[in-house]
């Protein structure tokens, strides 16, 4: 693995360590926990989109399967949240395998629609299977996590824990990308025919990544359930699947760091905008959460039209441009 990636991980860890000294408000810490969970799901989705070149418009279903597994197993059966999380991830992986084997034979639009349909069906089941999922009113009283004797019962402790999981997930993903599997995946992305002619088992790789990314989403879902102690079908709808794709695409789907940038940015942007409009309340422009969708759609459209590599590519271009500028000044100074 490239040493720059290790530096990136360390930088994130340092930032995370210092955030609670800067952000005192529990509400904002809570937002940053949701940001971490979005990052984790986006990481998995980015492996699928950016590295295997396959789209999934159904990842909120995997997120939801993790959350409901945790909720049902802990509340109804009294299991430990950790075992429930593992069982949820296994269940989600099996479901992803069952869906993925036929779905990943499809390409492009067909795959997009198949995953969209799958996601919609899972959401309908969450709403309709009242006996199991509690229906629209959901499940409450989900127990907290206990990590090595520490109750994760405050926003701050859960904040540290969730970001530790993100860093772990990032580390695993980076290792995967720089392994034989990762190189095979990139070959699939560029040309499936060329890759398979060189002996890369394309369908096997694609399914593996699909299952892995579903498991990432499932773990994020379990953490979500443990964090807010209550779930209903609302957050696991088709719109959330779409939003996850937006995060990955806005950040830059061809790079795992891009997905991180996108997930962080889009998770905190609405909060940032509403805080901003509170601050500038005098002007008479109030930001409402109703505008979220306009903002997301607008950003995604602009990025896709003018910067298809996402913000990551934009940042790289900026760095390159500034480097060129500095070099030019140096040349002039020495000449």
């Amino acid at each position: 693995m490239d040493h720059r990636n290790y530096i990136g991980l360390v930088i994130i860890a340092v930032i995370i360590a210092f955030i609670p000294t800067l952000v005192k408000n529990d509400y904002y810490i809570g937002i940053l926990v949701f940001t971490a969970l979005n990052c984790l799901t986006a990481l998995g989705l980015c492996l699928l989109m950016g590295y295997a070149g396959q789209i999934s418009l159904g990842h909120a279903a995997f997120f939801g399967l993790g959350a409901y597994s945790t909720a049902i197993l802990t509340v109804n059966l009294g299991w430990s949240p950790w075992i429930a999380m593992g069982a949820g991830a296994c269940l989600t992986a099996v479901i992803a395998l069952i869906i993925g084997v036929p779905a990943l034979r499809l390409k492009g639009h067909y795959l997009a629609m198949a995953t969209l349909g799958f996601g919609a069906i899972v959401n309908i089941v969450f709403v309709a299977a009242v006996g199991l999922t509690g229906g629209p009113s959901g499940i409450s009283g989900i127990p907290q996590l206990n990590f090595l004797g520490i109750e994760l019962n405050t926003d701050k402790s859960f904040f540290y824990f969730s970001w530790a999981v993100v860093i772990l997930g990032l580390f695993l993903a980076l290792n995967l990308i720089h392994s034989r599997v990762g190189r095979g995946l990139r070959a699939i992305h560029d040309s499936q025919e060329a890759a398979s002619s060189l002996g890369v088992n394309t369908s096997k790789y694609k399914i593996k990544i699909f299952v892995l990314s579903a498991a990432y989403a499932s773990v994020a879902g379990s953490l979500y359930a443990s964090f807010i102690n209550y779930i209903d079908p609302g957050p696991f709808d088709v719109m959330h699947s779409v939003l996850l794709v937006v995060m990955v695409a806005v950040g830059g789907m061809h790079n795992i760091w891009g997905a991180m940038i996108g997930a962080v940015l889009l998770s905190i942007l609405p909060e940032f905008l509403s805080a901003l409009s509170d601050y500038f309340g005098g002007i008479g422009i109030a930001y409402k959460s109703d505008y979220d969708m306009l903002i997301y759609g607008g950003i995604l459209l602009v990025i896709m039209l003018f910067l298809p590599g996402g913000l990551y590519e934009g940042i790289q271009r900026l760095l390159q441009a500034s480097r060129n500028l500095i070099n030019r000044f140096k040349m002039r100074a020495f000449s």
Binding site: K107, G108, H109, A114, D292, G297, L300
Partner: protein, 300 residues
């Protein structure tokens, strides 16, 4: 009596299925139109339907316009949106990848949904029926006048498009472009205009679908995704690109859905159409009416 009762039930479900299915058929025709001219699946197709319905609500209930006049304005309004979408988001993208195109149409759908929510709010909107709500009785089952309007308008659209694509120069040019774009261009057809026209027609047909179904389902801003995906299901079952197949498949899916909702479970009603979509995609992605040979040429 019991056998008569169950037959009445069956008939009732079939009427309901035809009503829903007509809408899926029209959404599917919209998908096909754009797919044939560009190879793109427009994920904002359901949003055209929603915008059509909501615009109709404002014009008929808010401004109290007559139904035909309101329908005309609604179709023009949504058609313009379709043209703008093509001009500003599809046309400028040179040599796009499929993934990028999918995400662009997703972005447009989020944007349109956001616009719909800002203007019309989150609540669902009531709209008056075209000609009263006094149901007709046919062999014990009842059918709303609005359902007859829906089926009738679907027929008019199908016949209209058949005439357009077979007997007008523009329609034939569009077909030529969908068969072989390069050859069509060599023959002097402006293929870029044909793409724009396909977006216009597709948006227009979506607007009509939204306008006629709103009195029955009460439109709200968030319905687009499900309408779109069921319409896509009809397009796939009918064989993507095949308009006749789309209509038959749309009606069939509507009927299956109504029967499933009636006899199995109303809670899972929406899931039946989606299950059909998944099963067909997984087993025979060329669709039931599509030929395997033709579909081999397409990118799945």
């Amino acid at each position: 009596m019991s056998s008569g009762g169950s037959f009445t039930d069956l008939l009732q479900f079939i009427f309901m299925g035809l009503q829903r299915g007509s809408i899926y058929a029209m959404v599917a025709m919209g998908f096909n139109m754009i797919y044939n001219s560009t190879g793109i699946i427009n994920l904002a197709q359901g949003e055209f339907v929603v915008l059509g319905g909501l615009m109709m609500v404002t014009l008929t209930m808010g401004l109290n316009l007559s139904i035909p006049f309101a329908l005309m304005i609604t179709v023009i309004f949504v058609t313009v949106i379709g043209i703008l979408m093509e001009r500003f988001t599809i046309n400028p993208v040179k040599s796009p990848t499929v993934l990028r195109l999918i995400i662009i149409t997703v972005a447009v759908s989020i944007l349109l949904k956001g616009v719909a929510m800002c203007f019309w709010g989150k609540e669902s909107h009531y709209m008056r029926h075209f000609t009263g709500t006094e149901p007709f009785e046919i062999m014990g089952a009842t059918i709303l006048p609005q359902t007859l309007w829906i089926i009738g308008i679907l027929l008019v659209i199908v016949v209209g498009f058949a005439l357009f694509f077979n007997f007008t120069m523009t329609g034939k040019s569009m077909r030529a472009c969908s068969i072989n774009r390069d050859a069509a261009r060599l023959a002097g057809i402006n293929d870029r205009n044909m793409v724009m026209l396909s977006f216009a027609l597709s948006a227009g047909i979506g607007a009509v679908a939204g306008s006629i179904i709103t009195p029955i389902i009460q439109m709200d801003y968030a319905r687009g995704a499900l309408l779109g995906i069921k319409g896509f299901g009809a397009a796939v079952v009918g064989g993507l690109g095949n308009s006749f197949g789309a209509v038959v498949a749309g009606l069939l899916i509507g009927i299956v859905e109504a029967l499933g909702g009636g006899y199995i479970s109303t809670h899972y009603m929406d899931a039946f159409a989606l299950l059909i979509l998944l099963v067909v995609l997984f087993i025979r992605p060329s669709g039931i009416f599509g030929s395997r040979e033709a579909s081999r040429l397409k990118e799945f």
